[in-house]
């Protein structure tokens, strides 16, 4: 019975989300069934679509894996947007400085530069939290704002394509970056590039780091109870900095992949962060939490969310409804699905009250809060 409920509730939630979406589609004068069909084929309908969805999911996987690391250490990182930008900028500078290196060296180098750039941008709120008691939610939100303005400054001034100055068009973009740094396409005829396996590998790496290394153990111990960790001789402050730096570095890697795996092969700004990141800094949080803060489960979770984005965009093109519908649908699906998982739990609990005895008390409600680290 419990199993049946477990299977049915997410179905009902998805159905409820689709029902909501159907109402909006009908109100817009579109056929909902055609819409859902377009959404499905747009996200998963062919090898080409599956690849496009994978590429769209890459930043979500990376940000999500990073979020898993920081949240496991009870550090909340909402600075993905800024960290993606920082990683992209440093990798872009690297490619501009060393365009002649062969791909076998330059590609790993720009990816590494992305890691470093994002890592630095993540370490700043880490240091502020650990040594100056500045809450990381505040500092990461603020650093997102700083990163956008810094990107705009860099791209319209020191890094601007000299041609743009010469022509007087002043488009805030770099020159075309070295082809030696371009991430190669792995399935010809699709957008499936090296960024996809790199992201998957990074997520696997995050998993190993969290559960198979002493650092990971320290991070999780700090997340579990900073006081107990400190009593056990774990350097809490340094762990907090590590958690945010690691989390930021994965977002930064996403930034590098966005530049060198993009169709454009250069960095450009439209003045906002979302134009470049596609809001991956926020959507990655959804992917991570939906994947249970487990780096490996973040992969399918991000892929699904990526499909939601590519599918909704395809729906827009097929039915010619306003593009804002795509973002609306994303929101609706997230809200319904996240609500459903707990409904399932509750119904399951009622049906199988005995379950309470099989499990030890729920750890998460009795463990200390995230922010206590700040207070120590």
């Amino acid at each position: 019975m419990h199993r049946l409920v477990s299977a049915v509730i997410p179905m009902l939630a998805a159905l409820a989300a689709f029902a909501c979406a159907a109402i909006i589609l009908l109100a817009l004068g579109a056929n909902p069934f055609e819409g859902f069909r377009a959404m499905y084929t747009g996200a998963f309908g062919s090898v080409d679509r599956l690849s496009a969805t994978a590429v769209r999911a890459v930043p979500l996987v990376l940000v999500g894996a990073g979020i898993s690391i920081s949240f496991r250490a009870s550090v909340i990182n909402i600075g993905g947007e800024g960290q993606i930008i920082a990683g992209a900028l440093l990798s872009t500078v690297t490619a501009l400085a060393l365009p002649g290196l062969p791909p076998i060296i330059l590609i790993p180098l720009v990816l590494f530069a992305g890691l470093v750039g994002g890592g630095i941008w993540g370490a700043v709120p880490g240091v502020l939290k650990a040594y100056a008691s500045v809450n990381e939610i505040l500092s990461t939100i603020m650093l997102n704002i700083v990163a956008v303005q810094f990107m705009n400054y860099m791209l319209r001034s020191p890094l601007i394509d000299p041609l743009e100055i010469e022509r007087g068009t002043r488009i805030p973009q770099t020159e075309r970056l070295s082809d030696n740094a371009a991430l190669p396409t792995l399935i010809s005829g699709t957008r499936f590039n090296l960024g996809v396996p790199v992201a998957v590998a990074a997520a696997v790496g995050a998993y190993f780091l969290l559960w198979r290394t002493p650092l990971g153990f320290r991070l999780r111990a700090v997340g579990h109870s900073p006081d107990a960790a400190r009593a056990a001789g774990i350097p809490v402050e340094r762990s907090v900095v590590s958690a945010l730096a690691l989390s930021g570095s994965l977002a930064g890697l996403a930034g590098a992949i966005l530049v060198f795996g993009s169709e454009g092969q250069r960095m450009i700004t439209d003045g906002s962060s979302a134009g470049f990141t596609g809001s991956a800094g926020f959507n990655g949080i959804v992917a991570a939490l939906f994947g249970g803060l487990h780096p490996l489960w973040t992969i399918p979770s991000a892929y699904l969310f990526g499909g939601l984005i590519t599918g909704a965009n395809h729906l827009q093109r097929v039915l010619q409804v306003p593009a804002a519908l795509a973002v609306t649908l994303n929101g609706i699906v997230v809200i319904f699905v996240v609500s459903s998982s707990k409904v399932r739990d509750r119904i399951g609990a009622i049906l199988k009250a005995r379950r309470e005895f099989d499990h030890p008390a729920n750890e998460s409600t009795s463990s200390p809060p995230a922010e206590e680290v700040a207070a120590t």
Binding site: I24, L28, I76, I78, L128, A132, S133, V134, N135, I137, L138, S139, I141, M142, L143, N144, I145, V146, Q149, F150, N152, Y153, R156, F282, N283, I285, V286, L289, F290, P322, A324, L325, A326, V327, T328, N330, G331, I332, V333, V334, I335, V338, S339, S341, K342, V343, D345, R346, E356, A361, N362, S364, T365, P368, P369, A370, E371, E372, A374, A375
Partner: protein, 309 residues
């Protein structure tokens, strides 16, 4: 350029700072009340956008600002009920559901705007309410006593929220369920009801924030809030979960923003540094916290769902 230090410029900058801080203050106080009860709401931006659009649409189609404010509040309240259902009744993950609300608000306000309004047009704006006598004081009057009713209300909310949280049973219970839901529950306080109420109040205030923003400008555009909802969340941490602290944060951010934009207009900040100077509000807010170095604990049960075992 020569008169950048004159009283006129100084006090008009103050006035601009107070105008800019109004939406931060409403939304920040709302977020603070929610967090006090143990619920983090990352969806403020979405609620602000929804309320802003519906308030604007109401003003545009009825011409009544009163009705517009009412609708803006109601939309906030409705979103509060939705968020309360999601987080309190369904026990959903607060981080994800907040981002879900943000995405929904961002998209749906844009969709409704395109379907129902389309081409931007102005509606009547909130009139400036001059406080008798005080508004006639040279300079000071312009800075502090010639604002819209919304702005005065925002600042009046500060002591009201303090009294609500500190001096009433309702407020004590909200704080109790945010600090230790188990013991509050054992004392007969309904955790669910308190949190639900706090969320509804908080989201209504977020709705008022969006309404204040759009009616001050008299026009709506997709993504009108431009990140102000997220800044409001940050300011709750700046204010260390105290209403005057949130007010200080809102004023600091708003005043630095106003100063930077004024200095740009006066040519004091060269054009080549326009983006660098736009970082100032964010950097100074962090810097101020570093200097203050407050070590304040957030509500202990923040982000933790509660259910009786």
């Amino acid at each position: 350029m020569s008169d950048f230090f004159t009283a006129t410029v100084l006090f008009s900058t103050l006035a601009a700072g107070i105008r800019l801080s109004t939406p931060f203050l409403f939304a920040g106080l709302g977020e603070m009340i929610g967090q006090k009860s143990g619920v983090l709401n990352l969806g403020v931006e979405g609620v602000m956008l929804l309320s802003a659009f519906f308030a604007y649409w109401t003003a545009l189609s009825t011409g009544s600002l009163w009705l517009a404010v009412l609708v803006g509040m109601l939309v906030g309240l409705l979103m509060g009920v939705v968020y309360g259902l999601i987080t309190v009744v369904f026990h959903a993950e607060q981080g994800i559901s907040g981002i879900g609300i943000f995405l929904f608000g961002l998209g749906f306000s844009d969709l409704m705007f395109q379907e129902n309004v389309g081409t931007p047009k102005f509606t009547s704006k909130l009139p400036s309410v001059d406080i008798p006598l005080l508004s006639d004081i040279p300079h000071v009057g312009v800075a502090f006593f010639q604002h819209s009713a919304m702005t005065y209300t925002a600042f009046v909310m500060v002591p009201l929220v303090m009294i609500l949280l500190r001096r009433t049973t309702f407020g004590t219970n909200i704080r109790a369920v945010g600090e230790n839901p188990e013991s509050a529950d054992s004392l007969g306080v309904s955790v669910a009801r308190m949190r639900f109420s706090a969320i509804v109040i908080g989201n209504t205030l977020a709705g008022v924030a969006g309404t204040a923003l759009v009616l001050e400008l008299g026009i709506f555009q997709p993504n009108l809030t431009a990140g102000r909802g997220f800044i409001a969340i940050a300011l709750v941490y700046f204010g260390a979960w105290r209403a005057p602290g949130v007010m200080a944060g809102a004023l600091l951010y708003g005043l630095v923003e106003a100063t930077v934009i004024t200095w740009k207009a006066l040519g004091i900040i060269p054009r080549s540094l326009s983006d660098i100077s736009a970082m100032a509000p964010a950097v100074i807010t962090i810097g101020a916290l570093v200097i203050l170095a407050r070590r304040v604990k957030p509500p202990a049960a923040l982000t933790q769902p509660f259910s009786r075992h």
